[in-house]
Symmetry: C2
Subunit: 101 residues, 2 copies
Amino acid sequence: MELIMVFKALSNETRINILIWLKEPRQHFPAEELEDYDANLGVCVSDITKKAGLSPSTTSDYLSILQKCGLIEATRSGQWTYYRRNERAIDTLSKLIQKSL
Amino acid sequence: MELIMVFKALSNETRINILIWLKEPRQHFPAEELEDYDANLGVCVSDITKKAGLSPSTTSDYLSILQKCGLIEATRSGQWTYYRRNERAIDTLSKLIQKSL
DNA sequence: CAAACGTATCGATATTTTCAGAAATCCAGA
DNA sequence: TCTGGATTTCTGAAAATATCGATACGTTTG
């Protein structure tokens, strides 16, 4: 886990929010707004894009940044890409900060 | 505590290192390298500058960034400025990450 | 197969960050 | 008070980041 990369990823309000939204998808993405959702796979890019109010390209970038540093995971299913939190990594991060910072 | 500001501050290797060095000053700044040290006040800028291998201006900038987001505190004594960790703030941060992230 | 759709990537530009050197400030000592 | 050392602030160039629109790619569907 590249601590610097993680901190850079978290240095942006929207990216932090994405992480928080994905913690409780049903809570942050009302059912009528959820174009597509799978409790196991996560939330698809277009729903996150709508919620974030950014362009699809920016949102996709952000998701990829969060994914590259391990905080979220992706599953492609047909034309959809679902993103979900990587709880294990987030926990590791939390412990790492607590221990070595 | 502005989480974004804190993450920005921590998005830099040297700044993270400064925080770690200040955790155990005696360990990271060998006595013969410590130009000036006070266990209560912390380590002075010139010692941190030497250790970081950066210019005094950059080091001063970095310290001020860490200070503005509350991670370290400063005490001016004569011509020296001593910096030390703000353990309370660091602990708050750690808990905040654990809880809300 | 062609059009439509979800997503990713690319290219461009505006903004921010990095880091140094110069200049300014502040304090101590001759 | 003059000189020098410690630190900060200012200025600026280079690098990195933010963010968009256009484009490309794979998938679904008519």
